[in-house]
């Protein structure tokens, strides 16, 4: 599984970073980006889905 933050949609609500800091980080402006090229380590798939379901801007996508 891979996650991706669309930087043109992300407004820095930081929900993804709060819910899944293993998968997302934020830059100095508070905008999010995916860690590890977006590759989701085994066992963290639910966290990736949780982040997607909590992003108010619909900025996160998942490739299964």
């Amino acid at each position: 599984m891979r996650v991706h933050v669309d930087p043109s949609k992300c407004q820095g609500h930081n929900r993804c970073y709060a819910l899944a800091p293993e998968l997302f980080d934020v830059d100095d402006l508070g905008n999010a980006f995916e860690l590890n090229d977006g590759v989701v380590p085994a066992g963290l798939e639910d966290k990736a889905r949780l982040a997607l379901a909590n992003c108010p801007e619909f900025a996160i996508s998942i490739e299964e």
Binding site: Q11, G12, H13, N14, R15, Y17, A18, V26, D27, D28, L29, G30, L50, A53, N54, C55, P56, E57, F58
Partner: protein, 410 residues
């Protein structure tokens, strides 16, 4: 509480008044009734013409459509932005970046973003914990307390005063000015009110000048050093942004903390769950933000246009009721039920699109800490039925009197 200058509402679909006490008291029912009667967007002639869209889809669409909807007037008033004397117009507006439109908005916002990113805000946690504990210590051993007057209203003021570098003991003044700007929208423009605005401006000019002469490590000095388009900010821009940071963070967060505590006072099952499992507090805070979202914003229509079948006129106000969007069944399962362990929660309490609340990391920190500390110190409390809970009116909604009985303390 009195009606606004416009008098009582006759019909919520065609004559609503979002500044009236009746709206503050019954807004959930008003939205539900409007939607079930087939009216997803209400109108009123009050305030010179105002629209109230109620679905998540419409609120999202307007928030994103900065070509047709301007942020020049984020708070509805009796005067249209163009009617306000000496007003700084679009795309800058009087209080950047909340009153700014693209392309200026992005620049005014970018210079502030680093100061409010998680890495700058997280270190404030200990200080917020100390403030909350101190407020509870000050309550002594009383069994009857007011959680709004003695607790929630003080937390954001004490935090933002310290961040900006303003005297913490001026908290009462700040709250008075916030009330002037946000709650008094339907009141008459008396000389006394205008004099209060002048006093506010003079106070800020004094403190900004003091920071010019004696720079220190705080947000006002940070703003004085900040640059936009390669130049220092103008004095108006600096003062406008200080006003915004004071106003935007105070009664919003006070409302968020107050509504959460109000919910927990009336729902002992939820309260016990959080006392026993404090690690559930962050998810519960998100649900309180969804269900009791404190903030409704406004936009100004740029040119006559059609929107979902209605004719909007140039300079009409359009409200962005994020609280109504958060209760839309098409976006949230069982939207009318408060579920503190809700998993999928894309709520819009902090707005949508380019104006996403700049202080959201700070607001979340304050709400989480305030609830954590309150539950730790008062594991059992309930509403004091001999007194009344009162709610603010206007675009920011939250409890202003919160009489509690403390049943257990730790």
């Amino acid at each position: 509480m009195s009606e606004t200058v416009y008098g009582p509402v006759t019909d919520w679909a065609t004559d609503f008044d979002h500044g009236s006490p009746a709206y503050a008291a019954n807004q959930h029912k008003i939205w539900d009734d409007l939607k079930s009667s087939g009216c997803p967007i209400a109108h009123t002639d009050r305030y010179g013409g105002t629209w109230l869209p109620l679905t998540h889809e419409m609120v999202h669409e307007i928030a994103y459509d900065t070509d047709h909807f301007s942020s020049e007037g984020p708070v509805v008033g009796q005067l249209k932005p163009s009617e306000v004397p000496d007003r700084i117009g679009a795309p800058i507006g009087p209080v950047p970046p909340i009153s700014s439109d693209p392309p200026f908005h992005a620049e005014a916002r970018r210079l502030l973003l680093p100061a409010f990113a998680p890495k700058m805000i997280d270190p404030w946690r200990e200080e917020v914990v100390a403030i909350c504990n101190e407020l509870i210590d000050n309550m002594g051993t009383a069994d009857h307390i007011d959680a709004a007057l003695q607790y929630s209203q003080h937390i954001p003021v004490m935090v933002i005063a310290r961040m900006l570098g303003l005297p913490v003991e001026d908290g009462d003044k700040f709250r008075g000015w916030v009330n002037l700007v946000l709650s008094g929208i339907g009141e008459e423009r008396t000389e006394a009110r205008m004099a209060q605005f002048e006093e506010f401006n003079a106070y800020l000019a004094f403190h900004v000048n003091d920071h010019i002469e004696n720079p220190r490590d705080d947000l006002i000095s940070f703003l004085l050093n900040a640059e936009i388009f390669g130049e220092k900010l103008s004095l108006e821009h600096t003062v406008g942004t200080v006003i915004l940071l004071l106003i935007a963070g105070i009664d919003t967060t006070w409302s968020g903390i107050g509504s959460s505590l109000w919910h927990l006072a009336g729902n002992s099952v939820d309260r016990r769950r959080l006392v026993e499992n404090p690690d559930m507090i962050p998810a519960a805070v998100e649900e309180f933000l969804r269900a009791y979202a404190p903030v409704t914003m406004a936009r100004v229509v740029k040119e006559d246009m059609e929107f979902h079948g209605v004719e909007m006129k140039k300079e009409d106000w359009v409200l962005l009721p994020f609280p109504a969007a958060n209760r839309d069944d098409n976006q949230f399962a069982d939207a009318h039920i408060v579920q503190i362990d809700r998993e999928a929660n894309r709520h819009a309490a902090f707005g949508l699109g380019i104006h996403r609340c700049l202080g959201s990391n700070l607001a979340r920190l304050e709400m989480n800490v305030a609830i954590e500390v309150f539950l730790k110190r008062f594991p059992d409390f309930s509403l004091d039925s001999s007194e009344v809970v009162t709610w603010s009116t206007g675009q920011v909604r939250g409890p202003r009197a919160l009489p509690f009985v403390i049943n257990a303390r730790a």
